[in-house]
Amino acid sequence: MYIQFLLVTIMPAIPESPRPVLLEQLLRRDDLWRGHSRRFTAQPSVDTGHASLNGELLHKGWPLGALVEICQRGFQGEWQLFMPALLALHPGLIVLLNPPAEPFSQALLQAGMDLDRLVVINAPDKTRFLACFTELARTSGCGAILGWQPRDHFTYTEVRKCLLAASEGAGLPILFRPSAVQQQSSPAPLRLFSQVVPDGLEVTVFKQKGVLQRYQPRPLVLPLPPAWQGAPPYHVLDRQPHPDQKRGGVPGTDIVDIRESS
């Protein structure tokens, strides 16, 4: 301070030194390289609707404009996982590409979905699936694409094509792939494994770009609708521990009576 005072008083002709730049101002610049970590970048995201999952994800929600890869075996609670985000992505079209079955209008209306926003596309082969996925991912009016990988195997390059297209758009592109590809390398920045367990929907984030994975990924269990639990059959109740005791799993499946009732 004293030196600065001296400089100002002794050498008044020297131009003033530039004002100190705050770190925050620097971080606002787009052209600043910030290293490999994406922790400090402000990527747009949409709330997953599950607080525990938000806490696990880097941007506190599903990242927009980035490919999300879900590895699962058959039907494993995909609507439960994404429905809150799909509802939050209003407006914008929601495209189901090669869905494994027909989305049931009654269930979606019960969940609050606007059916006018939902479009189903059936691509007959892998080439056309990729073309549809990439075109839709680039389109600005497309809020979310949920694509189910066709029977043909996807190469790394093909998934990368989806990734590049996703990065050009601003929607939520999701690619459902069989659980077998979990062990394979994939360029998708966010990869999850999901399966239904007795207590709910178990989700494991096993790859997330920008997060250093130090430990074995910890699975999260998201609750499923209580109405799905149901009551165990009467003859099973006797075998169950008392409610005060720790509750066991779903009653055994080997004693269901399906005798014809006349």
């Binding site: 075996r73 039907f75 989305p103 009654q106 269930a107 059916l115 189903v120 549809c132 075109e135 497309c142």
Partner: protein
């Protein structure tokens, strides 16, 4: 000035319309009749000479004259009338189509008071108009009067157009017509005959002397209203002109069809682009000026060796701007390259609809902006349709039905989804995935098996109905599979078989 008093109507009654509309090969020597519901509605002179009269039973007509019978086609008659209306638009814009409710009589009513000066008087106009229609070979009758209904009735009495006609003369001519000319009101005609009324003049005198109320009470308001129309009798209004029915102004359909001829044959789609753009801009201007929109356009390509090809472009939403149609056209051309060198490019747009400008709510939160560009989305979907086919892209919708598979339907993208669930479906357990065909469940011993053992957990929910087609009764359950996946199963109460209908996911 009372505009109603100045009106002059010319009625043209096409007697042979049931036959001429059919475009049937006809020879003057052959007896020919047109029949509807086994009754003769028209007979040609030869058949009439053989004893056939209108209204005769068809079998009788064939027996007495040996005539050939043709079935009446009301749609073609309607088309013929529209063609005649388009043709007569050159004389007056005020043209109505008249159809009898009971007899096979139809024709045109022309209000000609506004075009008398152009054609130098009513006689000249009448002569010109009849000379214009003569080559078409219609069996034509005409009537001139101060009211449209009066002119139609006077077409049943032969009066030449002299140019000296006055309102008084028209009234005198109408007075002489028998009441049977009001054949559209058979009950009223019968009552009038019983009351001793022989001509329309008798009825008019009754109305003038004792007001309309007495006849209205006996014959109905519609009939007396028609009599008032015939004679142009004004009601007791202070300003009757305010209540006069305005004359219909006919606006003929103007299809858009424009062409561009090239100086040299074009073999590349790229070289067609400027012409496509220019024609579409011209179409957009045409549509916007008329407050119209279109969903379908057709490109017609013509080659120098008389080769022709048409390319149809469909849009999911009505368009009055050219840009989306331009993009959709290029997508179609990308998928169907030119098969010959094009010499002439034509754009035709026949199906048009009134433009509907929907009102939009104020978008304070910028949701619409975030929703993206609708045009970009439409272009993408059009491109995907070209790639995977129209049927592979659809929306889903609810349809009211007790059966789950029938309550679910698919729609084209342009259609609006039904989204109102009835109370019975609002709170039931419904799976997110539904199988189009229910999957049969295997019974393994006392257990249910579908890709794993199943345990019914919630239910049953009874679904029954559809008795008008095939009675259905099912008990639906939510069942847990071995791997904890919840599936929607049902037991058919008739066949006692179990099926998986959906998956809760």
């Amino acid at each position: 000035m009372n505009a109603r008093r100045d009106r002059l109507w010319l009625a043209l009654r096409f007697r042979d319309l049931p036959l001429s509309a059919l475009d049937a090969a006809e020879s003057p020597e052959e007896p020919l009749v047109v029949a509807e519901k086994r009754k003769v509605v028209f007979s040609n002179p030869r058949a009439r000479a053989g004893g056939v009269v209108d209204g005769m039973d068809l079998t009788t007509a064939q027996l007495v004259s040996g005539c050939r019978a043709l079935a009446r086609n009301a749609a073609r008659e309607e088309e013929a009338l529209h063609r005649l209306r388009d043709a007569l638009y050159r004389f007056t814009p005020h043209i109505d189509i008249y159809r009898s409710r009971r007899a096979p009589h139809a024709g045109l009513l022309l209000e000609i008071s506004t075009c008398l000066r152009l054609f130098s008087g009513v006689k000249n106009l009448g002569d010109t108009l009849l000379a214009f229609l003569e080559p078409r070979g219609h069996d034509l009758r005409w009537g001139l009067a101060h009211s449209s209904t009066g002119a139609w009735l006077l077409s049943f009495a032969r009066h030449e157009i002299t140019g000296e006609e006055t309102r008084r003369l028209f009234t005198d001519r109408l007075d002489r017509l028998p009441v049977q000319v009001l054949y559209d009101y058979p009950g009223a005609v019968e009552a009038l005959v019983k009351m001793g009324f022989a001509t329309l003049g008798d009825v008019a005198r009754q109305i003038r002397s004792r007001s309309m109320d007495s006849l209205t009470r006996r014959l109905g308001k519609e009939f007396t209203g028609m009599i008032a129309d015939i004679y142009d009798i004004e009601s007791d209004f202070t300003q009757p002109s305010l209540f006069a029915r305005p004359v219909t102004t006919y606006v003929p359909d103007q299809p858009f069809c424009e062409s561009i001829e090239f100086d040299y044959p074009v073999s590349e789609v790229e070289h067609l682009r400027p012409a496509i753009e220019s024609l579409l801009q011209s179409l957009a201007e045409f549509l916007q000026r008329r407050q119209l929109a279109c969903q379908h356009i057709q490109w017609r390509l013509a080659g120098i060796h008389d080769r022709r090809e048409a390319l149809d472009i469909h849009s999911d939403t009505p368009q009055s701007d050219w840009r989306l149609l331009f993009d959709l056209t290029l997508i179609q051309f990308d998928h169907t390259p030119l098969s010959f060198e094009v010499d002439c490019l034509t754009l035709a747009c026949g199906d048009r609809m009134p433009r509907r400008d929907s009102s939009l709510d104020l978008d304070f939160e910028g949701k619409r902006r975030r929703g993206g560009c609708p045009r970009e989305l439409a272009v993408t979907l059009a491109r995907l349709k070209a790639r995977v086919g129209d049927a592979a892209i659809y929306k889903i919708s609810y349809r009211d039905s007790p059966l789950p598979e029938l309550s679910h339907t698919i729609l084209a993208l342009a259609e609006k989804c039904a989204q109102q669930l009835p109370h019975s479906h609002r709170h039931g357990l419904r799976p997110a995935w539904l199988f189009a065909e229910p999957q049969p469940i295997e019974k393994r011993g006392r257990r249910l098996y579908w890709q794993g053992y199943l345990t019914p957990a919630v239910g049953p929910e009874r679904v029954a109905g559809h008795w008008w087609r095939e009675s259905v009764a099912r008990d639906y359950y939510l069942a847990r599979r071995q791997d904890n996946v919840a599936v929607w199963i049902y037991r058919d109460l008739y066949s006692r078989a179990w099926y998986v209908h959906g998956v809760f996911s």
